[in-house]
Amino acid sequence: MKELLSFEQAPPFHVPLRFLLSAIPFGIAAGVLLMFSGDSLASRWTPTALALTHLMTVGLMLQAMCGALLQITPVAIGANVPAPTLLASVVHPCLLLGAICLVAAFLGAGEVFYFLGAIGLASGLLPFGLVALWALWRAPVRNPSRKALIVAVTGLLVTAVFGVALAVARGGGTVSPALVSTAAHFRMGWMVWGLALLSGASYLVVPMFQLTPQFPAPFQKFFVAGLAAAGLLVLWSPGHPAVDACLATLAASYAVVTLRLQRARRRPRVDSSFRFWQLALVSTCAAACLSLALPWLPDPSRAEVLLGLLVMVGGFDSVICGMMYKIVPFLTWLHLNNAGAKPLLMHHVIEESAMRIHLRLHAAALPPLLLTPWVPEMSVLAGALLAAAHIRQAHNMAIALGRYRERRKELVALP
């Protein structure tokens, strides 16, 4: 009953917003770094490739997903995170500092930055993960979204344990050899954290945004169970080909099912947000197929980079952009409306034409980006377009924020 009483309590606007907006500079930085990467994307193990990977993952993806999780869980399953403002004021700076230090360490700032990165990320992720798990566990709604989000947050914490151990080891510290596993770290991150969170959110927002049919009940049930089982297999034997085949099959099945649902949508018009989703789902399909083919490739090192780019930029970056263009305008309208301000409907918060410019820049960045592992000269064009896309995204968000503040000022000025 207590949860029911408080089920309207979405967090204050600034809580998800600070995370969502902080994601964007990491995307710009990734674009700039890419412009100067030269032949560094010939392998995923070069310092530049590692820095780029972590700009996209612990920078862009982690910030955006924390913001989205804090906003979506109260609506999806009634899981109200307690003291969201306090939690965000602790977690947000820790994650920012951790991500910046870790990227600096990969770029040669010094071994101490590995430790600072590990401390920052652990200090942010531990309270965030434990509080989120506690809220999810107590949530009054017991649906597949809740199970998927529990698997996602658990996967995030396990990914972080391996990540912190790897950072400490790179910084010259001593950790258990069992924890120094890049194979477990990235599989747990991509599939168990990323895909579980995406599926848990999708069960809610895909039917909501486009009035599609619901995800088939057996799919919702078995997909989450499959991801949890795959997570355990990753811990048992992360590099085993069967584990990769299992993970790739799950990723492809999620993408195909979601694309089919979107084809059955009842809303006739598609917008930029929908196109971002389509880009993400097609990229996820391509990444899953490539992942299955990797063991048969004679020299897979460049194809591994392609896989990473498909997952991080084609997949997660695209879907995050698509989600933000629904979440931020909706929350702007909602919070202004609840405050009694003059109505500002979503399409007046950020115009479709402004979002379309971002979409075109983002889509234009993908072909040269995906060629970069084999044609290093493409990195300049790909990086410039990726940076420009995120600059345009920042511009669009600034417009939204400016309009929100304007309406709030008008409200205060009322007699």
């Binding site: 309207e8 309208w333 409306n337 479709e352």
Partner: protein, 148 residues
């Protein structure tokens, strides 16, 4: 036994279908058709809101002793949706496609998140707490049936 949740969740689905038909008519610039279909949606939505506000919520409040809790939030959201519906009706009258689809965007997300909260939390609680929930479901079915 669950009686209220399936009935009211099905009626949400019915309202969604009417809303989608209005959007499809607007997409092909068949404004007279859109006007009629949107009016059918508005009538179904209004019947749903009134069934909740006049029958379901008072029964829930009497059964639980809560009048300022979730039902107050739901009533507030109904008022917000009614205001959005008025903005869309103005766009239909003005034959303004951009304003129509833009306003529909806000309504559909707000309406769907409202429905998820009701279906996930409030209706199961109503089924648990309201005595004679099955009899109430039969009564609501008759009221809503007129618009279905």
């Amino acid at each position: 036994m669950s009686a209220l949740k399936p009935l009211l969740a099905n009626h949400h689905e019915h309202c969604d279908a009417l809303f989608a038909e209005a959007e499809q008519a607007a997409n092909t610039a068949q404004w007279s058709d859109c006007e009629a279909r949107f009016q059918a949606f508005v009538e179904a939505l209004d019947a749903h809101f009134r069934a909740e506000e006049e029958v379901l919520f008072p029964a829930f409040e009497a059964a639980t002793g809560m009048s300022g809790g979730p039902t107050a939030v739901m009533r507030g959201e109904h008022a917000q949706m009614r205001a959005l519906v008025e903005a869309i009706q103005a766009a239909v009258s003005a034959r303004d496609a951009d304003e129509f689809f833009g306003s529909c965007e806000t309504l559909v997300i707000f309406m769907e998140q409202h429905n998820r909260k009701e279906e996930g939390i409030l209706y199961p609680m109503c089924d648990d707490r309201i005595p004679q929930a099955q009899a109430m479901a039969d009564q609501l079915e008759q009221r809503l049936g007129a618009t279905a």
